[in-house]
């Protein structure tokens, strides 16, 4: 299991477009992938779940990956967070 805290760095926050991109990325991997924030733990393979996360710039999320391809999944998805969802 891989657990990592990430920070939202783009101005618009985790809005609908990045939410959709994250879910599409997650769908490519077999491992489980959860995002938690303020006590809310969301299955990140669910678009409607990810959309319920209100994550503005500066807020912190905990990402958890668990499964065979967890390393690859975490690298790709954490990188997307670090790039500020390609909106920097």
């Amino acid at each position: 299991m891989i657990e990592q805290t990430v920070k939202i760095v783009n101005k618009a926050g985790l809005h609908t477009r990045p939410a959709a991109t994250i879910v599409k990325m997650a769908a490519k991997f077999k491992c489980e992938f959860y995002i938690s924030k303020d006590g809310l733990n969301i299955n990140a393979k669910s678009i409607i779940g990810v959309m319920t996360l209100a994550a503005e710039m500066g807020s912190e999320l905990v990402l958890t990956f668990d499964g065979d391809d967890e390393k690859q999944a975490s690298e790709e998805i954490i990188d997307y967070f670090k790039r500020g969802f390609d909106e920097l």
């Binding site: 809005h15 609908t16 477009r17 939410a19 959709a20 879910v23 599409k24 809310l40 299955n43 393979k45 669910s46 678009i47 409607i48 779940g49 959309m51 319920t52 209100a54 503005e56």
Partner: protein, 588 residues
Amino acid sequence: MKKFSQIFKDAENKITGIAAAPGIVIAQAYLFTKEKLVINESEITDVEEAKQNLIDALAKSKKELKKIFAIAKEKMEEKRAAIFEAQVMILDDPILLKNINDRIETEKKQPEFIVNDEISKYQSLMMHSYETYMKERAGDIEDIKNRIIRNLQKKRWESKIKNDMIVVSDSLTPADTILLSRSNAKGFVTDHGGLTSHAAIISRSLNIPAVVGTHNATKHIADGDTIIVDGFHGYVLVNPSKEQIDFFKEKIEKLVELQKSLAELKDQPAKTIDGKEITLLANVDVTGEIDLVITNDAKGIGLYRTEQIIEELGELPGEDEQAKIYLNLSTRIYPKPLVIRAFDIGGDKFKFLDFDEPNPFLGLRGIRLLLENQKMFKTQIRAVLKGSKNNNILFMLPMISTVLEIKRSLEIIHECKNELRDEKIYFDKGLKIGIMIEVPSAALLTFELAGYVDFLSIGTNDLIQYLIAVDRGNDLVSDLYQEFHPAVIRTLSHIVKEAKKAKKPLSICGEMAADTLAIPLLVGIGLTSLSLAPATIPYAKRILRSISFEKSKLLAEDCLASATVDEVTEKLEKFFKDNSIKRTRNII
């Protein structure tokens, strides 16, 4: 035997409305109330059926969203496009769907209840957020939730529709009307809508009697009641007495006889008694009508409303699919002409999720939308060209209001022709291009606009509503929608004169052309080509064959000098009386 007026005066079980499509029918009522989004929480017995209904409703919702997206994507800003994409993804959300399916299995309740409950959970999480954009997002989720629920309810209703019933509804969309006609609806009664509402137009096309704009039919009629619909006079009788049933049964017999005699007119020319020949063309909404067009011996298709293809298919068809439809239709009618009108989308004809226009009728519709969405426009033009192998297709542009719109359209058409030439695909090099005259500015500029095109066609429905500034779908003012308004008649006369001056053929294809009372007036003004619903052609032909062209001209002059609707109507009625011409509604 009592007279009609007597029967009706005595009736306490009557509902009045607008006579929207001719015919009389006695049958059971089926109440089709779809607007209210009331969640049904009842238990289910067949879990597998419920799960299948969910799958179907999700597929239908996806199709609808894709249709909206295909039409709107060029105009959609990126943010809206992302929300649209997310909505489509929700329909495939594995976690959400698993929860819903699990709950259907364990709780055995209507899927619409479980869908509502599950999705609302997420919404309440969003609503509790302090971020304002989260509340907006909850609204987007609301859209998709309601769409799924609506489609689930539709499934539930569809399974309830029995054959051979009269459908009673608050209002009907074109898609509803087509769907219901497939289950052999015998008649339509609606609370809202006027003569030119889509339910009315399509009922006339499909030859199903209809009374619309009753205001309260859904309140007075219960599911399963026996009702009589008189589509000639606009009356509905609820749970009729034996006397009323006998009376209308006799009317139906007379009607059958009349229709037989009308059928005999089929091979007779549409000529006035003094020898003036009028071309009677057909308006086509749904491809299924083509049989009726041929039976009634229309001289061609004067208006093919292609936006109905989108309604019928539930999605925007691609180039080849469209080309096939156009080629088939032109082959069926060959060698007579087929006028294809470019998609007239917008206004009341299509509700976009993404364009909440304050004034849709004055907004992005017809040619304006096509010029903004050139990809869609080009797909249709290429399809029309590809389908033009029989050399009998004409192409018509809707909602033209300026010369520039014609010029830009012609450029795009030219571009498409060059493309096809390069691709070595055959098309009719002489394909004629025409425009609709349905906006007052176009009417005034008839002569100038005519210089750029090969033919013109008046669309009275829109022309009247724009001329009088009245929304035909708004019950509060729809009384003001008057086809015999002197301003309408003078405008029509102006268009006729200017088209003659420009030496360009002119036709008229609105609902007014199908009003038997209007026919002598239209002919008298100088119109020589009328395009109307195929079912109404024999009625129009019967009137034409009993009037005099010379007398009609005098009538038109008289009407052109009138100042009020009442004066015009009086003159028309007097004309019918003086010349002993009986309207169909007065014969049976």
